[in-house]
């Protein structure tokens, strides 16, 4: 993660909108914890709502969305695996617990990074995540 000074002056409204894009996924975690798709839907809605916004807002909405997308894939697999154990003849295995712990670690890292980024962007600072920022730069042109 890289903390950068924004190239242009970020207005109060921009900082708030960019920060909200990260907060959106956190609120969705509280609201729809058992269903991983809720977080993704929340960030997708926010992303589309800010498509015509300034580059700073769009960039952070995209970074939030992309990070949620990869988490969504990991969590969904874990979710359906759990459903299969609960309702079919599949049994709890060491491999399943290992998977749950792995996605838990990834979720915690993402959670901390999201809170940190939400705070920093609210201050108008530009935070770039490893891998996701490069990907966002490809998607979100200035």
């Amino acid at each position: 993660m890289q903390l950068l000074v924004s190239k242009h002056i970020v207005t109060e409204h921009e900082a708030e909108a960019a920060s909200n894009s990260y907060l959106m996924s956190l609120i969705a975690i509280i609201g729809g914890l058992p269903l991983p798709i809720v977080n993704l839907i929340a960030t997708v809605i926010f992303y589309f709502g800010n498509r015509k916004s300034t580059w700073f807002v769009r960039w952070h909405c995209t970074q939030a969305l992309l990070s949620q997308l990869s988490l969504f894939l990991m969590n969904s697999y874990g979710f359906w695996w759990t459903i299969a154990i609960a309702f079919t003849e599949k049994e709890i295995s060491g491999n399943y617990i290992a998977y749950l712990i792995t996605i838990f670690i990834f979720n915690i890292v993402e959670f901390v990074a999201t809170i940190f980024t939400a705070i920093q962007t609210r201050k108008g600072k530009h935070v770039e995540w490893w891998f996701y920022s490069s990907l966002t730069n490809l998607v979100c042109k200035a």
Partner: protein, 265 residues
């Protein structure tokens, strides 16, 4: 672009690497997750068998038991199944039924032997139940319908006799789900072919009982717990026709007649 791909690959590697490392820990023992082990399955089987023997009349006639055991052994040996893991029991009862219990107990009612027309038909049904045992269907069914906690309470002697009787009833008079039944049917054909036994009589038996179905009464448990006999007969025949082999007679006509006679006595 290369940077993104490279970083993405590192992230993927990190994820699977972490999963791989986590998998090295024995979480099942660490969290003390209770599982239905081989030992508990054996215990369960013995509890259920004890409950059955209290109310039913076991047929212990040496010649009959030996004849059925021989048939079983041939199939087991041809399919690399450990014969000591399978305990066959014959019960004197008019019900046309055969079912599997946990721990490799296979119960056959004399009503079934009376109903079949030849030993190949009987072996077909036996192989079907054997497949349920070998494919762990009994364990899966019990876990799904009874639940792990009840099963463990049965093995520790904390469950009442009513629960045990009810579970035995469930095992003897209710079917597995459609997918498991088909799996057992296909596996039974494999067993028969490996033992050089023609699977067609098994299919014929299913066809015959499908035609008899309007007369199905409470004495026809195996049929009522195994619905769609016609459909099953069709795919069994279809599957077995893919394998052309030289089939042998399971038992001579004289020996079969003697067996039936002994049972009738």
């Amino acid at each position: 672009m290369m940077k993104v791909v490279f970083q993405g690959l590192i992230l993927v590697f990190l994820f699977f690497g972490l999963w791989f490392l986590m998998d090295k820990v024995d979480w099942i023992n660490l969290f003390r997750i209770e599982k239905l082990t081989y030992k508990t399955e054996q215990k369960l089987g013995n509890v259920f068998w004890d409950a059955i023997i209290k109310t039913e009349n076991e047929l212990t006639e040496k010649e009959v038991v030996l004849a059925v055991d021989n048939m079983m052994s041939n199939v087991c040996i041809a399919n690399n199944i450990n014969t000591t893991n399978i305990k066959t029991h014959l019960i004197r009862k008019d019900e046309v039924n055969a079912f599997a219990l946990p721990g490799g107990h296979l119960i056959i009612y004399t009503g079934l032997i009376n109903k079949v027309e030849n030993p190949e038909e009987l072996l077909g049904v036996i192989c079907h139940e054997l497949a349920h045992i070998e494919l762990q269907h009994v364990k899966k069914k019990l876990l799904k319908e009874i639940g792990l906690s009840v099963l463990l309470s049965i093995t520790t002697g904390n469950a009442g006799s009513e629960i045990i009787q009810e579970t035995v009833k469930q095992l003897s008079s209710s079917s597995f789900d459609r997918r498991l039944e088909k799996e057992a049917d296909i596996k039974s054909v494999d067993y028969l072919i490996a033992a050089n036994v023609n699977p067609k009589p098994f299919s014929d038996f299913l066809n015959r009982i499908a035609e008899d179905s309007p007369e199905i009464d409470k004495n026809f448990s195996w049929i009522s717990t195994h619905p769609d006999s016609k459909e099953r007969a069709r795919y069994i025949l279809e599957y077995s026709q893919k394998h052309k082999g030289q089939y042998v007679q399971v038992m001579s006509i004289v020996a079969w007649d003697q067996l039936k006679q002994k049972i009738a006595e």
